[in-house]
């Protein structure tokens, strides 16, 4: 036990002395990432807010053909920008400016007056998210205008306009402020887990592949200490580094998101000290598995460079379940809580939503993750008994 502690102290101390790696491990990841992601979330919120409530500028070709329609749109915060364009030119204009552009055909007025469907063309590049939001609003407004005319026509013919509304649909949004925020903050759990794993990368490689490359592994293996204990000491050093980084990341997220002022935008980020502590505790059991995995892979490789490549690739493995989960819209289930990293993702998300998972789920997550760490740690220990290790 004592030798594990001695190896740990030396590895940790040596890493602390390497300013450059320390800077990457503790500053770039844990502090810069939250600021960047915070900025992205901030922009996303502002952007979607602008499309849904702010004024829309609508380019209109042949505005003179539909004066009443445009008067109607102006009442709903639509700024009309008339242009002089034929259909080909209108299309080119949209390709350049993404739209939306309303083209009023020649027969619009005549068909409207005749009580026949009057054509309108709305050009827009809907792959652009803001434009998409504007098009949705314009469609609603145009539908509203059409509906008004339809009702007037029915009244003029002595019919009850309600005949045209056989169904009255009320859609009720049940999302709470927390769940709306958590949707936007989905990438946050990814960032927390990835940063945590990344911060163990340097120390895991440096103490294994690096040690061998510098030629200090061979003398180390001649000291009267069980080989496993040497590995466990190195693993412990990586674990502590990951824990420090995890705490920094979570704290930084809590602070940045507070400053973005999600509450002001109608969402509660719900990221107080209690939630932060919960996230750290929830992720904690994944740390030994991550450290052991990286050390195992780095010990197998033949050089420092090779270790960087392989460990970097292996680090993607724990992030894959998260990507699948968000694509498939997976919800926490007992079986899924047995998947390390995915279960930590669920724990983070549930804490952010303010809907804690059953304690049994949390226990499964912690138990399986710790067991995986023990197995990988044992394998790494075994690897240090093999002479192939010297390369």
């Amino acid at each position: 036990m004592k030798s594990i502690w001695r190896v740990f102290r030396k590895e940790f101390r040596e890493t602390l002395r390497d300013r450059r790696s320390l800077f990457t491990t503790l500053i770039i990841g844990p502090l810069l990432m939250p600021v960047l992601i915070g900025a992205v979330i901030f922009m996303a919120i502002r952007h979607s807010g602008a499309a849904n409530t702010g004024p829309i500028t609508l380019t209109v070709a042949h505005a003179g053909r539909a004066p009443q329609l445009l008067d109607f749109l102006r009442q709903y915060q639509v700024r009309v920008r008339p242009v002089d364009a034929d259909r080909a030119r209108a299309r080119r204009l949209v390709e350049r400016e993404h739209g939306p552009l309303l083209y009023v055909p020649r027969d619009f007025g005549a068909r409207l007056a005749a009580g026949k469907p009057a054509p309108l063309r709305l050009y827009a590049d809907e792959s652009n998210r803001t434009v998409h939001g504007k098009v949705e609003r314009l469609s609603t407004l145009l539908g509203l205008y059409g509906g008004t005319i339809a009702r007037l026509r029915l009244v003029a013919r002595g019919l009850d306009p309600q005949l045209l509304a056989p169904i009255a649909l009320h859609s009720i949004d049940t999302s709470t402020p927390q769940s709306r925020a958590a949707l936007t903050l989905g990438m946050l759990s990814y960032a927390i887990l990835f940063t945590m794993l990344m911060s163990g990368l340097y120390i895991a490689i440096d103490t294994t592949a690096g040690e061998r490359e510098r030629g200090s592994l061979e003398p180390l293996l001649t000291v009267p200490v069980e080989r496993e204990h040497l590995v466990y000491g190195k693993m412990l050093a990586a674990c502590v580094m990951m824990l420090v980084s995890l705490m920094l990341t979570v704290a930084a997220f809590a602070l940045t998101l507070r400053h973005i002022g999600l509450a002001r935008l109608g969402m509660s980020a719900n990221f107080g000290p209690g939630v932060a502590a919960g996230i750290v505790l929830g992720c904690l059991p994944l740390i030994p598995a991550g450290a052991a995995l990286m050390i195992l892979v780095a010990s197998y490789t033949r050089s420092y460079r090779e270790a960087q490549t392989y460990v970097g690739l292996v680090l993607l493995v724990p992030t894959l379940p998260l990507i699948f989960a968000s694509i498939l819209g997976l919800q926490p289930r007992a079986a899924l809580m047995a998947v390390p990293s995915l279960s930590q993702h669920f724990i983070i998300m549930s804490l952010l939503r303010g809907q804690p998972l059953p304690s049994g789920y949390v226990a499964i997550s912690a138990g399986v993750s710790l067991a995986l760490g023990a197995v990988l740690g044992y394998l790494a220990g075994r690897l240090y008994r093999r002479e192939r290790l010297l390369g």
Binding site: T15, D18, T222
Partner: protein
């Protein structure tokens, strides 16, 4: 005392050691001499427990390197080839770390490190990070690290390679002193002059076999020549030898 009996080591289809037996006694410097690839490093690596032999057995002061490897490691200090040290620790910290791993109490390892630093004339660089060390400074650090637990047996793999004349002299003086204190010293080299200048016993190894184990004088007598170099060449390759000066 270091003993090996009929060591066999294969790497794939290559037989690196083909029955190496040797003995290095206390109070003597034993040189393991042989051309490149003869099996010197492999022999030493089996003795200091980082390689396992495919056959045969070896003992350090009677402790088997296979069955009692921790005990065997406790009884020896090792300077492997290349002498890698931890770049972000100072020379002193490198030495004390190994002291700690050998289970020495803090006060003891401090005192030992200070003593070795003085003995190896390391004061000018003892408290600098090992990052920028010259080869000589690195070897001295690695040597002090190997001696921090005062091992009875000292194994060195090509200790003088890459060292300047002054560093070689310090090393030779130290090895002589250790011998006089009763330590058993086994070192490998492919440099004839070095072995001639230092060794009480010479083990000539070639092609994974021990060709001869004898004192330098006896070696010359056996090969029937006055020059040790010529004796060496004749011993490792009886057909290729030419008459020396």
């Amino acid at each position: 005392m270091i003993e090996a009996r009929a060591l066999i080591k294969r790497f794939g289809t290559l037989t690196a050691l083909d029955g190496v037996s040797l003995r290095a006694a206390d109070g003597r410097i034993t040189g393991l001499l042989g051309p490149n690839g003869a099996g010197k490093s492999t022999t030493l690596r089996i003795l200091y427990t980082v390689l396992r032999p495919d056959g045969g057995e070896a003992w350090i002061d009677g402790a088997s390197v296979l069955a009692q490897s921790l005990e065997a490691r406790r009884r020896m200090g090792v300077l492997p080839h290349g002498a890698g040290v931890y770049p972000n620790l100072t020379a002193r910290e490198n030495i004390e770390y190994f002291g700690a791993l050998h289970g020495l109490a803090r006060a003891v390892r401090r005192a030992r490190a200070a003593e070795l630093i003085a003995r190896l004339e390391m004061q000018p660089f003892a408290d600098r990070a090992a990052k920028g060390f010259s080869q000589g400074e690195r070897v001295k650090t690695a040597l002090a690290r190997a001696l921090v637990h005062q091992p009875r047996n000292v194994l060195l793999d090509e200790p003088t390679s890459g060292l300047d004349v002054m560093a070689v002299r310090t090393l030779r003086r130290l090895l002589g002193e250790l011998r006089d204190e009763g330590h058993c010293i086994l070192f490998s080299s492919h440099v004839m002059q070095e072995v001639a200048a230092l060794c009480d016993d010479v083990i000539v190894i070639a092609g994974g076999r021990v060709v001869v184990q004898a004192g330098p004088e006896e070696l010359k007598a056996r090969a029937g020549t006055a020059s040790l170099e010529e004796a060496f060449v004749r011993l490792i390759d009886p057909n290729g030898a030419q008459d020396g000066p």
